[in-house]
Symmetry: C3
Subunit: 413 residues, 3 copies
């Protein structure tokens, strides 16, 4: 605590040095026993000049289930977004020039992991805290709850109940750091490290860097997952990126260069012909999930997007199909109270239980010491021209190639 | 934290305004990021005069499993009681002119929900923190653990293990506020809001106001449960109000205007003839539970009471049978170390597992947006006259009507 | 919080009184609402002179899963060790004249119980926080997870899933106190109380005193377990004392006066002939567990030890076989990343599931109000002579008596 206080005071006195070194500020460090309650910095506090105003504010939530939750608000002048270190470095919400990019979850508080029991409700406890714009599912497993095998410490196969979407979103970051380049374009980076590790089990390190440039309409997420154990280790990651109004509305569309799509289950199969089109909120709407393999350009890059009805607002995501070979589309256009939301979800795997994904060969493995990188560029588009350009680009990836539409779900058991 | 500190300082400088507006003090607000560590106010601090001394003190517990637990002590000059916002706005204990109204649980600490795992011990984890005078059981479900069906997000029936007495008692309040009327009789109100909500699940808001008047022997609990979701939603609530010595003793009695009583199970059936009478502590006493439907007066109000052997001390509870149609009587006169205690429990339902209560039509439903109110008036009686008056009133409700005593438990499976 | 701050200030002004009374400092008290963030005292701060420099430092960890964890570092001038009140008064690590006595767990953070779910991973959640040098397993049960019977509140037999190694290591201490004798040899004592109790369940009080003398190479753990309930209560305790390099290495040995040893399972049976000898780290090494009954001297005392290959470094443990009749040897010489570690584990019981231990009559019972004491003396040895003396002493306990080596595991089901 002493140390914390010293750093806290220090943070108010920060005098950024000139030169090529970025301004850095450690906010949390399990290694060094540091955890700042609050901190802030803006274009007014630094010696370099920025064409765009920007600010970073760290504070702590209080009250109810959000007691003690760390929040980092980044405003690049155009794009504002809120990172939650306490919830695995997810991104709670974002807005671009006042337009919400996320959604309105019925879960209003930013729930501290101490109040989450993932095993609750037959493995659905994750839903007690689900309200992020971008939330990572994984890393040891993700997808639907249900039993799967694992190898115990004595080398035996045993069963454990997997819980919905895994543990990573409910682990607090051990290290959190801010970096601001003093050189133009003054890149702002928020770095975090989250460990999902145990004895006789997986030993993952998630390193993430979430970055943006003052004045820009985009942010970038660079993740590196490392297996710090000695054994080959299965893993899964899915970026659950969620949208509500105004991007989601009747007539809004999913846009992507799609090689193949199949319905997750029999229910989704009924609506496969309209899988790209969204409808108005309907109480009692049952989720429809579509599993896709995207096409990519010559550099293995692909782009997916949600655009509103008028095609003058959109959010696009660009990533490598080598890193993230699948896209899962979650349509949950239920009533506003229940959560009117869709998820565009690039991942290594589909959200079936891991035992099914394994059967289909979609559970990758990291050797001991091995790392894998995942980068997604998120871009908000707020006029017809920008949306048209993105559509054109996605078309150029599709290159007139066919989309194979499977109308029946796979046999999974 | 900054904000918290500011509010904390402010709270010491509070200058109550004259007039008809009550003095108000926000103690906790998830909405505004407020959480006061400590605060107090008494008749000495305000400008209006009170015939009775009173005080309200908010502080925070430390050490062991009670680290960080919020406590609000209210003393109205005669009646003292302690509210625990961190444990769902339950009432830990109370005393009237020095007489304990609650009980002595073997659980001595006020356990923070972070140390409770409701799923422990085959669904009995709730018992790790059970020591309140008044604790709410519910809201999605309450009663005995065991499997019940629920509807999953894909519209399928699935099973989940219900845990003993539900979640609400282990959820911290999101909003807590104190109000003191400047006008006589200077009503003191403690308001709280507790949310039991999740995605793909129930979305309950519990609003509660616990109030008392300086110098009085009573407190009142006004609860409003709202279904903030869109769907029809089952719910259950049971007010688990618990008594030990001195009210509970050999020869103490339960008093109520009872229409029907049946034993919870075969064990209780053996003792149905003495269901109203209490005995001395007996190590190894096995709980006896009696399920009752009370009679009511013309205004649908009923009254129940526990009185000591000499009938010169009692605690009565008055409520509407429209709101709370059942009374559950829990007799657990085990040894002092194990917990010598009885519960007088008005509720919407009996404490069988919800799947049984549903079968018997005792699980009410709230439509989307709908609310239901529950009010209980608790009154401590400390002399023969007061107890006699209460007995007379209960007799007047019974109006000579018969109590139907079923000697066998219902067939529940 | 106020109270905390007052005590905190007071602690900096401490003026030890002369005389025979030890200097005492309360660090945590649930009873008195006290919890100090930081505190320290050393030979420089007191009026008595010590031949050896010593210091005690209490601080709080921050960041990641160790947010809010209390740490007490004791340095007696030769021996340094770190107690974790938040994790049941376990000892995280120790070193003697710079030699590590503990091990290097892949779990790097000192995990706060709020982030542990013991039921996770089919009852293996305990492994999420396992990195202590000395960790107690128990008290209601310990050993392998799996179903066992218990008696419910209604007197029925029911099943509950026991979780690995029980709850005690993940319960924060309710009372923590430091005592330093002003009289030579200036014994330093750290006392703690941890409660494992619930309604309708066990009511254990663990009182512990961990003590050392400035300049010495030893520390002593005095535990007292009390059944504060009224019923006869089964209990189990196992001291899981763990070693890595440099004590553990190829050629290191377990040394003890052993009456009988048997392999825990068929896998261990294969290596029973080498059960005392350790090997180099091998990725994929499957744990080998050996169950032993030690011989004792005329005072019922026995000694066990791990010594390095050169027999010039060792750690010995001395205890009464009346208190701790069994020794469990856990060999887990896996790779360094996965955890190269062995456990020398005195206990009341072997780490089979409690239902098996009960069958073999190895689950002791405490009557209501009854206590049992457990004392272990830990001694670090850092040269050939000291190690030789200990070997000689262990030989004198064995007195040439035979070790009965069972080559097959017991039939347990």
């Amino acid at each position: 605590m002493q140390r914390t206080i010293i750093y806290l005071l220090f943070s108010w006195l920060i005098i950024p040095a000139y030169g090529s070194e970025p301004i850095t500020q450690l906010l949390t460090s399990a290694k060094h026993g540091i955890h700042l309650d609050s901190w802030q910095l803006s274009h007014n506090d630094v010696k370099f000049e920025s064409k765009f105003p920007w600010s970073i504010r760290k504070y702590t939530l209080h009250g109810g289930k959000q007691e003690g939750v760390d929040i980092i608000e980044v405003d690049n002048g155009s794009l504002k977004f809120t990172i939650v270190p306490t919830r695995g470095m997810g991104i709670l919400k974002a807005e671009l020039d006042g337009m919400q990019l996320g959604w309105n979850s019925p879960v209003k508080e930013v729930v501290h992991p101490q109040f989450i029991n993932l095993q609750e409700r037959a493995g659905l406890g994750w839903l007690d805290g689900f309200n992020e714009w971008i939330v990572r599912c994984g890393i040891e497993f993700m997808g639907h709850p249900g039993k799967d095998n694992f190898i115990t410490n004595v080398g035996n196969k045993a069963e454990m109940p997997l819980t919905l979407h895994g543990k990573i979103a409910n682990i607090p970051a051990s290290e959190v750091e801010i970096l601001i380049d003093q050189e133009p374009p003054h890149l702002i980076r928020i770095r975090g490290i989250v460990y999902e590790r145990m004895f006789y089990g997986p030993k993952f390190k998630l390193w993430t860097e979430i970055s943006t440039t003052p004045g820009s309409n985009s942010l970038r997420m660079d993740d590196k997952i490392t297996n710090q154990g000695g054994f080959d280790q299965e893993f899964e990651i899915l970026y659950h990126v969620n949208f509500g109004p105004p991007l989601l509305e009747e007539g809004a569309q999913f846009v992507g260069a799609i090689k193949e799509v199949f319905p997750f289950n029999a229910h989704a199969a009924k609506y496969i012909n309209h899988y790209k089109i969204y409808e108005d909120p309907v109480l009692g709407f049952i989720e429809q999930v579509y599993c896709m393999h995207p096409y990519a350009d010559d550099n293995k890059m692909t782009q997916i997007m949600i655009q509103n009805k008028a095609a003058n607002r959109a959010l696009s995501m660009t990533f490598s199909v080598d890193q993230l070979p699948i896209v899962n589309l979650w349509k949950n256009t239920s009533s506003l109270e229940e959560g009117y939301v869709t998820g565009l979800e690039p991942g290594t795997s589909f959200p079936y239980n891991r035992r099914i994904e394994r059967k289909f060969g979609r559970v990758p493995i990291l050797k001991g010491g091995e790392s894998r990188d995942f980068t997604i560029e998120f871009m908000g588009l707020i006029n017809k021209d920008e949306v048209a350009i993105a559509n054109k680009h996605i078309k150029s990836i599709q290159k007139g190639r066919k989309t194979r539409v499977k109308t029946a779900p796979p046999e999974i058991d």
